[in-house]
């Protein structure tokens, strides 16, 4: 097969467009001809992808040729063990929303139930949380007996820097770049027949990917509509210089919203979110959370902010963007009839959005919030039945209800609910049948192993420097 049988056009010049093009190019190779149509290389809303990713980004970035050495040597990215919440209006105002592999099972019983029984906190048993708090980092080894092997990590990065990196790289791939403004979207029978550009050039394709953020130029031409949930205002800034900070994002709540600082190599990035009525820097911009009624319409799929708006409280935006791309790749149409693909894409899209929103909505399942519109709007968003079941079951007896293929896993939920200070009323009945002395010994053993390990780990910046020195010797520079 020498002539690719299909053309895919990506419309948009921001982060989502370049990430999509990079992933499509790797995954489809000779199976498709890729075209990027973009007049503009920047989208201010790109900052809302947040500057942190969950552990799934490791494999995803690697699959698009952005492996970890490249990321660390060629960009200012850093490791990320999670997000530290401070001053949050929950029962417990501060915790580290860290990443972790499945928790241990002691004497046949999930170990959290022993913590509930003893009224003990979760964090001292989580190596990733402890390491983050102390500002240290090291790669988790494969050996499952090693205490650090239970840790998981994502990345902290600058979206605009990754966007630049990818757009340069995409130029070297077999991707056609058309830097022109869109004049018109030609629609016939509920499908895009062509994009007409300012020069009059017409671009036809088998599949159009709308990565135009809140412009939504393509999907909206096909009748998709955006269902707004909240209106917010964001401002982002960057401070150059300084030593690499800890491997976590630091998110602090205030009366008007919140602000997050992300340490990167040689710089930090700050992102603040409020209600539009609040005072903010002149560069601040407004955005809405919500989603399209259908992300795939006719022969067009909206990816990233073109399809949804999600507050970057957690790595949710990056997780969703990655899932959008993977979902689209799973369903690249085989014929001109896209009905099967669209239906399945939209089903998965709905699930992913609902599950993501549930996790973020859980952050506002708190008793008292400030009077500011930001907080009042947040708690006014309805709690859906799935989240209600999760919250009820967790409060009732520490059960973590799960649904199919959720982006946030059981550990994410356990860490969140524990972190917020929500305490199960009961614990697993099996706990009472287990020898107490042995449990105390096992729990103390875990805590001690975690503390010892953390005391031996180097500071994040030292680890980074040493790792890069090693990589440069290996010619990764």
């Amino acid at each position: 097969m020498t002539n690719p049988s299909r053309t895919i056009v990506v419309y948009g010049g921001g982060f989502a467009a370049h990430l999509t093009a990079a992933a499509f190019s790797r995954s489809l190779g000779r199976a498709a001809r890729l075209v990027i149509v973009a007049s503009d290389q920047t989208a201010e809303s790109d900052a809302l992808y947040g500057s942190a990713s969950a552990p799934t980004a490791h494999n995803f970035f690697e699959s698009i040729g952005l492996d970890e050495p490249t990321l660390m040597v060629r960009t200012h990215s850093a490791f990320s063990l999670g997000t530290r919440f401070t001053n949050w209006p929950s029962g417990s105002p501060s915790w580290i929303q860290t990443y972790h592999l499945p928790f241990p099972i002691l004497s046949g019983v999930p170990f959290q139930h022993f913590l509930t029984e003893r009224g003990a906190a979760l964090e001292p048993y989580l190596i990733s949380a402890r390491a983050a708090a102390k500002g240290v980092f090291a790669h988790p080894p494969d050996d499952p007996r090693h205490p650090l092997s239970r840790a998981e990590y994502g990345y902290q990065f600058s979206v605009s820097e990754l966007q630049e990196f990818l757009s340069k790289r995409n130029e070297t791939q077999e991707i056609e770049l058309v830097a022109e403004r869109l004049r018109e979207v030609q629609v016939a029978d509920g499908r895009i027949s062509a994009l007409v550009l300012e020069s009059g050039r017409q671009i036809e394709a088998d599949l159009f990917i709308d990565c135009s953020a809140d412009e939504r130029a393509l999907v909206s031409a096909l009748g998709a509509s955006f269902e707004t949930v909240r209106e917010l205002r964001a401002s982002s800034s960057r401070q150059e210089g300084g030593q690499l900070g800890p491997a976590y994002r630091s998110l602090t709540a205030s009366d008007h919203g919140w602000s997050a600082i992300t340490p990167l190599q040689g710089r930090t990035e700050t992102l603040s979110i409020t209600h539009p009525s609040a005072q903010q820097a002149p560069t601040a911009f407004e955005f809405t959370t919500g989603k399209l009624d259908e992300a795939w319409v006719g022969n067009c799929v909206a990816i990233g902010h073109a399809a949804w708006g999600v507050e970057p409280l957690t790595p949710a935006p990056m997780m969703l963007l990655q899932r959008d791309i993977e979902r689209a790749l799973d369903l690249i149409p085989v014929t001109n009839d896209h009905r099967v693909e669209a239906r399945e894409y939209n089903r998965r899209f709905e699930d992913d959005i609902a599950h993501t929103n549930a996790f973020q909505r859980a952050l506002f399942a708190v008793e008292n919030v400030p009077e500011d519109r930001y907080w009042q709007d947040a708690v006014a968003v309805p709690v859906d039945a799935k989240l209600q079941r999760k919250l009820t079951q967790f409060k009732s007896r520490g059960i973590l209800v799960r649904y199919d293929l959720e982006p946030f896993n059981e550990e994410d939920w356990a860490i969140l609910l524990n972190g917020m200070g929500i305490k199960p009323e009961r614990y697993d009945r099996q706990v009472d049948g287990v020898d107490q002395a042995s449990i105390i010994q096992q729990l103390e053993g875990i805590e001690r192993a975690v503390a010892q390990m953390v005391s031996k780990m180097p500071p994040h910046h030292v680890y980074m420097t040493n790792m890069k020195r090693y990589l440069e010797k290996q010619n990764h520079g």
């Binding site: 097969m1 049988s5 299909r6 995954s27 489809l28 190779g29 000779r30 199976a31 498709a32 699959s63 046949g108 993977e326 790749l329 799973d330 369903l331 690249i332 149409p333 085989v334 014929t335 099967v340 693909e341 239906r343 399945e344 089903r347 079941r389 009820t392 079951q393 009732s396 007896r397 059960i399 209800v401 799960r402 649904y403 199919d404 293929l405 009961r426 614990y427 697993d428 009945r429 099996q430 009472d432 049948g433 287990v434």
Partner: protein
């Protein structure tokens, strides 16, 4: 708090003893009192039962030695199920416990196969599955530790005598202090205030009081239905077979590591090879075949002489509206019935027990625990139902009334979407919670001649020659792995899992090797 002190399990079949074994193992240390009531006058169902790989984890959790268990229940190893005459008369395929090949990056293996199959350049997909090829050759050995290696990338289950399994577990339970009471329940007394079952009365006048009752009384649902009138969701319009006739027979020929399910004009027949004999049965829809004819058809197709009179069974496919109602949890046939086409009966018992342990009441019963239990079990039953229905509708048969009935059936939307996505592009609608994973759906759909018209375009990132060499490598390795695998009989003997009476089963000894 009013702690749970006493559990009464009603019924001593597979479900009852499995529940007793697991609950006593988990809660013995709590000083929980478990009493199982069974009556020798009430027969249990089961002439040979096929299982799913999950049963191994159930046994392991109880600390059961695999060899002891296999010897005691005349168990054989099971690599999958062979389906005969389902797509068209004369067809056969194996639904294996394991994947086909290995994925290539983000591309499922079967997509590469579909790409080359379109050009008719490859053997059937089954050739890339170790459990299929091993099963077809009557071979078996335990998988190794590295599941990324061909010959270790599979699961296995057992085929055993379920009444002997119940007996085996009974001995286990006696060691754990479970009390067994012989008797027949004649009445259940309910608390007028709470509606809970307070006590049950036996035919000899004895009474048993418990905090929680586990109803394993089979189809009758003595507590869950006769007393609590919980109600039943009838699924007969999806799965209309409502009767079965079962009979054991002498074994003949090679000891096969798989169950066979052969489609018939008004139902299907099972054949389950145990070490000492073969279990047989005919599941049918009485609308289109008489009991006598169904029995005659079964008896006429036995491979060896019958070892007992055929036993008649009656059932209605569906599930109890609530699996946990008041202080009664129903596990096994009292909870619902789904025909044993994919060996899910014991699996659903196991799911019921696992969920009960996780949600076991710590004091008076919490309504939230019940709700959660019911949600989980409902999902389990529904997902199995859809997978069973797939076998009846993914077919080209129209040679009898029953097959024409399925042909005209309006499918549940969820199943319809699965079929369309498969036929369009070999895509599987995945779920995480449910027993049948993508390879199972692929096995049945492809096995019943639903060949997708397209394939995942990502397969075209590989040149044909490149794709071909990837497939050929797996094919070679697979055949090599099967080559070095012993016959199941040889392995059973060598492994030390051969039962006493199997050695004496003259029928097979004579026929072995013929």
């Amino acid at each position: 708090m009013n702690k749970m002190r006493k559990i009464c399990i009603l019924g001593g079949g597979t479900a009852g003893w499995m529940a007793a074994a697991a609950l006593s193992n988990k809660f013995n240390a709590l000083g929980l009192d478990i009493e199982l009531v069974e009556s020798d006058q009430i027969g249990t169902i089961g002439v040979g039962e096929a299982t799913l790989p999950h049963i191994r984890f159930f046994n392991q959790a109880l600390g059961i030695d695999e060899r002891e268990f296999m010897k005691s229940t005349h168990a054989t190893f099971k690599l999958g199920i062979e389906f005969c005459d389902w797509g068209r008369l004369g067809d056969h395929y194996v639904h294996p416990f394991g994947d086909y090949g290995f994925p290539v990056g983000d591309l499922d293996f079967h997509q590469l196969w579909l790409k080359l199959n379109a050009a008719k350049r490859v053997p059937r997909l089954d050739e890339y599955s170790y459990p299929v090829v091993a099963a077809e050759k009557g071979k078996f050995q335990l998988p190794g530790p590295d599941t990324n290696k061909i010959g270790s990338n599979f699961g296995y289950a057992y085929q055993f005598d379920s009444s002997l399994y119940a007996k085996f577990l009974r001995t286990y339970c006696e060691g754990k202090g479970v009390a067994r009471t012989e008797g027949k329940v004649v009445n259940a007394v309910r608390d007028p205030n709470t509606g809970d079952v307070r006590k049950i009365e036996l035919d000899d006048g004895r009474e048993i009081e418990a905090d929680l009752y586990v109803d394993c009384s089979g189809f009758r649902g003595v507590l869950i239905e006769q007393s609590l009138e919980t109600g039943y969701d009838d699924w007969s319009h999806w799965l209309p077979c409502n009767r079965a006739v079962a009979v054991p027979s002498e074994s003949r020929g090679k000891l096969l590591p798989y169950t066979r399910a052969t489609a018939r004009k008004a139902g299907w027949q099972w054949r389950i090879p145990l070490q000492h004999r073969t279990g047989n049965g005919h599941v049918y829809w009485n609308e289109f075949i008489s009991d006598d004819e169904a029995t005659a058809q079964l008896m006429g197709t036995l491979e060896g002489p019958a070892l007992a009179d055929p036993k008649q069974l009656y059932f209605k496919t569906g599930r109890r509206r609530k699996f946990w109602n008041q202080n009664v949890v129903c596990i096994g046939l009292s909870g619902g019935f789904l025909e044993p086409l994919e060996s899910t009966s014991i699996h659903l018992i196991q799911e019921g027990i696992t969920a009960l342990i996780e949600l076991f009441p710590d004091g008076s019963i919490n309504a939230l625990d019940r709700e959660e239990y019911n949600e989980r079990m409902a999902l389990n039953f529904e997902r199995v139902r859809d997978f069973l229905l797939l076998h009846y509708v993914a077919t080209q048969r129209d040679d009898s009334e029953m097959w024409r009935y399925f042909r005209n059936m309006k499918l549940p939307d969820s199943l319809n979407e699965k079929l369309e996505a498969w036929l369009t592009r070999g895509y599987i609608l995945k779920y995480e919670f449910g027993v049948f994973l993508p390879p199972s759906w692929i096995a049945v759909m492809l096995g019943q001649n639903l060949v997708p018209s397209g394939y995942d375009p990502r397969a075209d990132r590989f040149a044909d020659t490149d794709a071909m060499s990837k497939l050929e490598r797996i094919l070679r390795e697979n055949h090599k792995a099967v080559e070095t695998t012993p016959e199941q009989q040889t392995f059973l003997t060598r492994y030390g899992a051969e039962s006493e009476s199997a050695r004496l089963a003259a029928g097979r000894m004579d026929a072995r090797g013929t």
